[in-house]
Structures are given as C-alpha cells and as structure tokens.
C-alpha cells in the first residue's frame, strides 16, 4: 500500500484502469500436472501472475528434529524468480518470502489432514515466475490444486483471493497499480464448501462496512475460482474407472 490517495485509479464510469468493474476478477487459468517429476503440480495464471507449484511426499521428515509425533509437517517454500518483476529480485530467501511461506503453510494446515501422516513431511514448492500483485493468493490457490493432484487427503479445497480499497471504493482483486497506490488490501483464504476462513491478513484501513463488502466480494470470487479448480482437476482425471 503506497497510500497515494490522489492517484486516479477508477474512472467516472466506475471502471478501473484495466477496464474491470469493482467486483470483477482478472482472467484466471489453472493447469494440473505440469511437472512430471512431482507427485502433484499446478500452473496458475492470474492476470499477469504466473505461479507453478510442485508437491512432493508425504515423505520421511528430515532433519528429524522437525518431525511431529502426531502429524505431518507442511514444508512450504514460496519463492519469486529473479526475473518475475521488472526489477531483478536477488535470488534466495528473504523476509517477505519467509512470511508468505509461513502464512501459506498455516493456511494449508487447516485443510490438509496432517494427522494421517505422523512424523512425515509434505513438501510444497511455490515458484512465482511472473508477478503483478496478488502472488500469495495465486500461490495458495495453486498449492491447494497441486495437493489435490498429489492425492493428499484434505477436508476441503482452499481458495485465496484479495479485495481492497482504492480511491475510497472497495474493489476485488487488486492489480499492480491498485496495490501500490491503493488504500487497503485484504487477502483471505476461504474453504469454498464450508465458507470457513483459513487465513486473513489486512494492510491499510477499512471501516466495518467496507470490510463486510470486501468479504462479500471475496466470498463470491472464491466460489468462482473454486469452479475453475474443479474443472482443472476433472479435466486431467476425466477418464472412467474400472
């Protein structure tokens, strides 16, 4: 949030800089099984964001000190490729990627049935190949699809989406300019079937009414994205059964 409230991000006809309405998502595509070596994988494009996720395991957790006697550990690594933005990103872990990895692991732990695999580890690698605001939402949504593709037992799917505020208007799915110059950002992780919240973060300020509207937008968008997740998974496994 840059907080530069004087930048015009919404035209008088209510359309945003890229022509979307306030409650409209950027175009999304989801492809399953893109990495042959991984147990489960997913490639997701969300506007100009491109994320690839690979899932390995469940496997023996190493080093042994990270093992939990009663459940599996989700080892999530979120990384932005050096070429993902116009300014080259220094390769390797940084404070932001550590934070997003932790948030993602905790969100995914609420859907993965970790108690089925004590002492083991499930590795989730999220690689952002192209970034244009909302990469954590893109990564988490793709990670849920890759986990389902890997056959990891889960209570529900997980969809992550963000709403925010620009020029005092609540909008859904902020793009780069809106993220930089907007007033607030509210990314959430939603379990689409039960409508439970797996994670919620907020940057900036929203009034209670604006917060409710943002959550309404997020909930509606989560249902739409969930349909895309279903279609992507079913298109891979569309064959019949013995």
């Amino acid at each position: 949030m840059g907080g530069y409230g004087d930048v015009e991000l919404i035209a008088k006809d209510g359309k945003r800089l890229d022509g979307r309405l306030a409650d409209e998502l950027r175009p999304i595509t989801i492809e399953v099984g893109v990495l042959p070596a991984a147990r489960g994988s997913c490639r997701m494009t969300w506007g100009l964001n491109i994320a690839e996720v690979a899932v390995y395991g469940p496997m023996e957790a190493h080093p042994r000190k990270i093992q939990r006697p009663d459940r599996a550990v989700l080892d999530v690594r979120y990384n932005m490729a050096p070429f993902s933005t116009s300014d080259r990103i220094r390769p390797g872990y940084n404070r932001r990627s550590r934070e997003i990895s932790k948030v993602t692991a905790e969100a995914l732990e609420s859907i993965v049935m970790v108690e089925m695999f004590p002492r083991s580890k499930i590795r989730v690698e999220i690689e952002i190949l192209c970034a244009e605001a909302g990469t954590r939402c893109c990564g988490i949504t793709a990670a849920a699809v890759a986990l389902a593709d890997a056959g990891i037992p889960m209570k529900d799917m997980l969809v992550s989406v963000a709403a925010g505020k620009i020029n005092d208007v609540v909008v859904l799915d902020l793009d780069k300019a809106e993220d930089n110059y907007g007033q607030a950002d509210l990314p959430v992780g939603i379990m689409p079937n039960t409508e439970e919240i797996a994670f919620l973060q907020m940057d900036g300020d929203l009034s209670p009414e604006e917060f409710d509207l943002a959550m309404e937008y997020n909930m509606k968008a989560a249902k739409e994205i969930h349909k895309l997740q279903i279609n992507a998974l079913k298109s891979k496994y569309d064959g019949g059964v013995e």
């Binding site: 209570k155 079937n193 064959g239 059964v241």
Partner: protein
C-alpha cells in the same frame, strides 16, 4: 436405488465434495463424516460396497499394511538394522533378527549395503506408522538380478488383471519372471529382449501425468493385452 449408489461408478469427486447423506451409508476409505454428510477427502472415484461408500483415489501415496509384499532399497544402516525406502511416507526397518543371514552386530554391509534392492514383507505397522519388514519367508531375498520398475500402487490391480490373467499373459509373451509388489514396484528377471518388452508394456504406468484410474490408460493397456 439412491443417488450415492447410482452415481458411484462414474462419479469423480475432489476434496470437500459432498458425496451424500450419512444416514444410509458408512464412510470408508477417503471419506469422512461431517454433520451427517459424507465428504470426499481425496481426488478419486466414488464406489459403494455393502453400505460403505469409499473412494478409489487417483494418484495416492502407498500406505504400508501388515502382510504387504514390497520391494525396497537400502537408504542407510545402523549397527543392527537396515533402513529401506519402500515408496511410502515412512522409511521401513529391517532388523538384523528378521534377515535371512546370520549377521553379527555391525557387519550388516557384508550382506546388504546402501542402494541394494530387496524383496520383503511388511511384518508390522505400529500406531506411529513405524514399518518393520521381514526377509524371512518363501521367496523373500536380496535382489541381485534383473531390473526393478515402478508402475504405481494404484495400477497394480489393472496390471495383474482378474485372477492374474494379464500378468500370466505378459510372462508368457516376454519369457520373464515378474514379481509384482504391493508398493507399485515390479521385479523383472529374464533376458534383455524380454525385459525391454515388459518395459514397453509398463511404460504408460510410469507417466505421472496420466495416472490410473484413467480411461485412456486402461484402454491403451487393454489394447496391448489383446495384441500380445
């Protein structure tokens, strides 16, 4: 006939999908009961047997069970046991006392070292998913000849066929001795030509982007079986 039963054969579900009401059915493998509803926990096909609804999961990990015949390779050793990778989430242990050799403490490498393959049977799986294997039993041994191929634990049923018909056909056609393990690995013994023929047949199963159960894969395999 109710909704769950009628749609059981062809229905593909993803985690979180509601399969039906739990009043008439019990939850089997891959299904959990939440507030009187049966919820799918894995990507798979719904099946029903004697009032139990279960999932035939696509692409699930191998979970060892007591009595399973498995093929594994040694990953490390302690003074009195071998640790083996059997393709499951947990490493399996082979204690010195359950090996076919009269081994002294610390001399395990004389018989089997890191990277060696062995045909074993799962003796015990404890509540913490600790897997103990044995090599004492008919046919259980260290693998020193032939090759080991991976076809996936979900594909075993199709590969073997009803009452072993497909497996018998493949054995006859290739002239190879084939041992199918429940962790999705097969041990092929024979001449080079035979091994290459078995590899050709099992090639489709190793494609992780086209895992069984999949109609295309099943048809391709059945066509191959008709040809040979």
């Amino acid at each position: 006939m109710n909704e769950v039963y009628s749609g059981a054969q062809e229905r593909l579900v993803i985690p979180g999908d509601t399969i039906g009401e739990s009043s008439d059915f019990t939850a089997g493998s891959g299904v959990i009961k939440i507030k009187n509803k049966l919820i799918a926990t894995q990507l798979g096909h719904v099946k029903e047997n004697n009032g139990t609804v279960y999932l035939l999961a696509c692409n699930s990990a191998y979970m060892p069970r007591s009595g399973d015949l498995v093929i594994g390779y040694v990953t490390s050793m302690r003074g009195n046991l071998w640790m083996l990778n059997i393709g499951g989430p947990f490493e399996a242990l082979l204690p010195m006392s359950l090996s076919p050799w009269n081994t002294q403490f610390g001399d395990l490498e004389e018989h089997m070292g890191v990277g060696d393959y062995a045909l074993l049977r799962v003796q015990e799986v404890d509540s913490q998913h600790g897997v103990v294997c044995t090599m004492k039993g008919i046919g259980l041994r260290k693998i020193t000849t032939g090759v080991v191929e991976m076809i996936g634990s979900n594909s075993i049923k199709l590969f073997v066929g009803s009452e072993g018909t497909n497996l018998q056909k493949i054995k006859k056609y290739t002239g190879c001795r084939i041992t199918v393990a429940e962790n999705g690995k097969i041990w092929i013994e024979g001449d080079e030509e035979g091994i290459s023929k078995v590899r050709d047949i099992s090639l489709d199963f190793s494609d992780t982007n086209n895992p069984y159960p999949n109609l295309n894969l099943k048809k391709a395999f059945e066509n191959k079986m008709e040809e040979i």
